[in-house]
Symmetry: C2
Subunit: 189 residues, 2 copies
């Protein structure tokens, strides 16, 4: 749990008391590789901190499985839209590798928001952080070619390329696996 506090401290300093209120709600859960952490159609009930592992956000479709995002160790993950709007999730969240999560329920988080000085601020900072990430991604999706997105991903997260199957990477980049193969071939030449 120390990592969670460390992560939060980058955003905002909390009193020991507030941290106690928050951390007492956290529950440790393990998910084996390929298990589904959040199922499409169900409502997200948790905000989770990834202590170990990698997850993907995906929409299973008749023709193919659409992966649009990843989340990595030492970050928060949630079906945030479902969580916030209390609507059924539009996507799955799936463990790519064996994962360890620390989770807090929606209701408990509301309690934290209401009963601590700092709850809303943490929530604000997390939402702000998520927004900035999506904004960068929006620009990349509009401006860059698939090849550039792949090269960027390689240089920014080289270790991930090893653990994430290429078909998921391809989907994330916005192309088909065959096209990613083609790009990889070009690059290596």
């Amino acid at each position: 749990m120390d990592n969670i506090r460390k992560y939060l401290n980058e955003f905002v300093t909390q009193s020991d008391q507030d941290w106690e209120i928050f951390s007492s709600k956290l529950v440790r859960v393990e998910f084996p590789k390929k298990s589904i952490i959040l199922e499409k159609g169900k409502r997200e009930k948790f905000l989770s901190f990834i202590a170990k592992g990698i997850v993907r956000f995906n929409i299973p479709k008749p023709d193919y499985d659409f992966t649009f995002a990843f989340a990595f160790e030492n970050t928060f993950v949630s079906g945030y839209d479902s969580f916030l709007a209390k609507t059924p999730s539009l996507y799955n969240i799936e463990a790519i590798s064996d994962c360890v999560l620390w989770r807090i329920t929606c209701e408990d988080l509301e309690t934290v928001y209401d009963s601590t000085q700092i709850g809303d601020r943490i929530g604000r900072k997390i939402a702000e952080e998520l927004f900035l990430k999506k904004m960068k991604r929006e620009m990349s999706l509009l401006e860059d070619t698939a090849k550039k997105r792949y090269l960027d991903l390689m240089s920014e997260q080289p270790q991930l390329i090893k653990y994430i199957p290429q078909k998921y990477l391809a989907s994330y980049i916005g192309i088909r696996p065959q096209s990613l193969s083609r790009i990889r071939k070009e690059i290596s030449i």
Copy 2:
């Protein structure tokens, strides 16, 4: 200013006292069509509510002008990344039509965050709202064709098509103006 309070009330009910603290900081500013509200390279100092008009987010480039987002009446607008991280803005914000904004400075907003019960909650809700929008957009950019994005935009915001030059719409959709012309031609047939 009533519209601002109305907008905020959809997120969170505020006490009259909190509203007074917040609204007393708001300053009305007009921007004529084509004027620059936030200049690339400068730091965003305001959170603004659009009382009237439409703005676009753009990056001016040697070869062409890249528009990646719009903001409309009765929503908040800001160079939020620059605002939050206190870094130079990566883009311009420009008035597409004559605009009326109500602005609060970064510093005043911090004061509101610190001196009201509700400041962080408003900030959280705004950031959450922005994040959800970007998430929907991410999926659309990955999944949909340019034609589908154009048709969606037409059905969701039909009035906008009238006011926003097509070259900006094309950029927003992720294609060149020539390609948008081609798509429009196909559709009308």
